[in-house]
């Protein structure tokens, strides 16, 4: 690194700084891609991402996300409890095909994972549940990563009273157990009815987008998760920035007269980006799991294609023998969580071995 010797670095002049060992991001990434297990995990994550993107499109009506022809539908749990045995029962175990009311056999993926208690196809619900999962993981991560990264870099770079305040804020948030805080936040946001009203002033397409893709209950979950989960990332990035602040790179930037914002976002940010990638993969797992808990407490996403909602249904239907709905939804969560955990582990080992064991 060449610094113009005519301009002395403002802070450190006397003692030469120890070189800081930076993880080599490109080699690390190559290491991750080379492993066979990692390739499989990357492929799984890619497939889920693709399915999630496709499921953002409106569902065609004929695929049986609604009712499969020839099957009754039950609208409420009260009806389910009163329900007596009926040959064309609304819920049906997995099968390759089904017969409609005229007795004609149809081969359709709608029946592959069976039907749930209201006669909806579990297969299509699992696929369209990827929409909720994708929106929650990606949007929450964007919110969480932007808060955590910017606050962490600001605290670490400026130090002093700014650092004290930010440290205090994240200590306070970190003191309340995360699950409890998320539940309280979701409860509070959903108890405020003025937040629940649809945006009336918005133009048509925007209102339709919020109604169909991002309903308010989903937004509430995203905000409750994102506003509370940035603490550990902020702590990590603050520590890393504290080290980088004293590096030659930043001294050179200061000597060249770069603005502080430019130093933070163009020079420090790329050097903490590995922390962001690792945190993203490992925290997405947590969001998927917490979504199930929120659904169980009736605080989660209320519209149906959601894996948490499907697992929550089982607390009433599993003892009646409907095992396929909970199995399919658990399988969907299980595969993506496993892929993300394994991938996150190898990313962490390759990019920043110091972090090992900090789960």
């Amino acid at each position: 690194m060449s610094i113009n010797p005519a301009i002395p670095a403002p802070d450190q002049t006397s003692t030469p700084l120890e070189p800081i060992e930076m993880p080599n991001r490109i080699t690390g990434w190559r290491l991750v891609v080379r492993g066979r297990l990692n390739k499989i995990c990357l492929a799984i994550v890619g497939i889920y991402f693709l399915v999630g993107l496709l499921s953002l499109l409106p569902a065609p009506s004929q695929i049986g996300l609604g009712n499969v022809p020839g099957f009754k539908s039950i609208k409420s749990f009260d009806q389910l409890i009163d329900y007596k045995y009926d040959p064309d029962q609304p819920y049906a175990p997995p099968a390759l095909s089904y017969k409609d009311s005229q007795g004609i056999r149809h081969y359709s993926p709608a029946m592959w994972f069976g039907l749930d208690f209201s006669g909806h196809s579990v297969f299509w619900q699992v696929l369209y549940g990827a929409r909720t999962a994708l929106l929650i993981t990606v949007l929450t991560s964007v919110l969480m990563l932007s808060i955590g990264t910017s606050l962490g870099m600001i605290a670490g770079y400026f130090g002093g009273w700014i650092d004290d305040i930010i440290t205090w804020v994240y200590s306070v948030i970190g003191t309340i157990p995360w699950l409890l805080l998320v539940i309280a936040m979701t409860y509070i946001l959903s108890s405020n009815e003025s937040l629940k009203e649809p945006p009336t002033h918005a133009p048509g397409p925007v209102a339709a987008f919020f109604k169909n893709i991002l309903p308010t209950d989903l937004l509430i979950v995203i905000f409750a998760l994102g506003l509370t989960d940035w603490v550990s990332l902020c702590r990590l990035i603050r520590g890393e920035t504290l080290k980088l602040r004293d590096s030659d790179m930043v001294a050179a930037g200061r000597a060249l007269g770069l603005s502080e914002l430019r130093i933070i976002f163009r020079h420090i940010l790329p050097n903490v980006s590995h922390l962001i990638i690792i945190t993203f993969t490992l925290s997405a797992v947590g969001y998927l799991q917490v979504e199930v808990v929120l659904s169980f407490l009736q605080l989660g996403v209320s519209s149906k294609p959601s894996w948490g909602h499907m697992i929550d249904d089982a607390k009433l239907t599993l003892l009646r023998g409907v095992w396929w709905e909970v199995t399919a939804a658990t399988g969907a969560i299980f595969i993506i969580c496993m892929a993300l955990t394994l991938l996150g582990d190898s990313l962490r080992d390759a990019l920043d071995p110091k972090l090992r064991g900090r789960d």
Binding site: W168, I173, T175, I176, S191, N192, Q289, F296, L318, G357
Partner: protein, 325 residues
């Protein structure tokens, strides 16, 4: 040492103040009106005013201007009252049960404890035992398969594990009751057996991973090599030397987990119909009983902050290498 403790103590106090401020803002500014949320639209206006007054919510929120003081005739703002109430550990009354949170806590916490404490002790023993064995046989088939199994267990949602056990042992094999509770110690154990088993299994995955990493660091340490060199047997090395050093993270985790033994598990208690403190919270969410939710957030956070402070002190007691500055 004393200066360090004093500084830590003041920091803990400031964090508790922050928790009170944060929860106040969340529950009294962001949340619309707890009374209206509780009663719904059918609530009579007179009832609403009465309950609002009972809960003390008709005071000004912050003491920002004296005009507000003058109008309401009350001396304190809502934040002041809540702040001093919480410092004196006086929580608002539960609107659903019409009794104070403390008496509810006194009634429900032992039930939670009866489930959580055995689960925690059995779980901790299993986790440490597995972690030490796995760390001793590093890079063997056993190590890889255990680590992989831990990842598999972490990836299954807890609720699915509870459901599967409830169905398999309760409804299919009929070994344990599906759900329920009964007073009396022996009957309670009969009902608590499955929740204990399930929560041990559901928490196993992530903890094994954590303790394995800690144990690996210890197994590779210099003192282990020295012990081996002077002829200490493998079991002795693991059970005496490594285990004692593993105590540091164990003590930290145990102290921090203590308050949660009393507050119980949210999902588990609702799932198995255990009338504990965690089940009270899930019930309060359904019934819009915000004083209980608020008190639970306060209590857990304050207990957690205090326990973190205690952990710092215990570090010195367990590990003579740690010097507090």
């Amino acid at each position: 040492m004393l200066a360090y403790l004093l500084r830590k103590f003041l920091l803990t106090l400031s964090i508790i103040f922050g928790v009170i401020l944060l929860t106040f803002v969340l529950f009294n500014v962001v949340a619309k009106d707890p009374v209206r949320a509780m009663g719904g639209k059918q609530m009579k206006e007179t009832d609403r005013i009465r309950i609002t007054h009972e809960m003390g919510l008709d005071k000004p929120r912050f003491a920002l201007n004296f005009a507000e003081y003058h109008e309401t005739g009350s001396k304190w703002s809502l934040l002041d009252t809540q702040f001093f109430n919480i410092l004196a550990f006086q929580f608002p009354k539960s609107q659903r049960h019409q009794e104070s949170v403390w008496s509810l806590f006194g009634r429900k916490a032992p039930i939670s404890f009866l489930v959580q404490a055995p689960a925690f002790v059995i779980g901790l023993g299993l986790q440490i035992a597995i972690a030490i064995i796995v760390a001793a046989k590093r890079k063997s088939v056993l190590d890889y398969s255990t680590t992989f199994a831990a990842v598999l267990m972490m990836s299954i949602p807890g609720l699915s594990i509870y459901l599967a056990f409830q169905w398999f042992f309760g409804a299919y094999l009929k070994i344990f009751p599906v759900a329920g509770w009964s007073p009396g110690f022996l009957l309670a154990i009969h009902f608590a057996a499955m929740p204990i088993l399930v929560s041990v299994i559901a928490n196993l995955g992530s903890s094994i991973r954590f303790y394995r990493t800690v144990a690996l660091e210890e197994v590779n340490a210099d003192y282990v090599r020295t012990a081996r060199a002077k002829g200490v047997s493998q079991t002795n090395v693991l059970l005496v030397h490594v285990l004692r050093n593993l105590l540091i993270p164990v003590v930290t985790n145990t102290i921090v987990a203590l308050p949660f033994l009393l507050t119980g598990a949210l999902v588990l208690e609702k799932m198995f119909q255990i009338p504990g403190f965690g089940g009270l919270l899930t019930e309060a969410i359904g019934a819009n009983d915000s004083p209980v939710i608020m008190a639970e957030v306060y209590l857990t956070a304050i207990a957690y902050a205090i326990m973190l402070f205690v952990t710092d002190i215990c570090y010195t007691l367990v590990d003579p290498r740690v010097v507090l500055r």
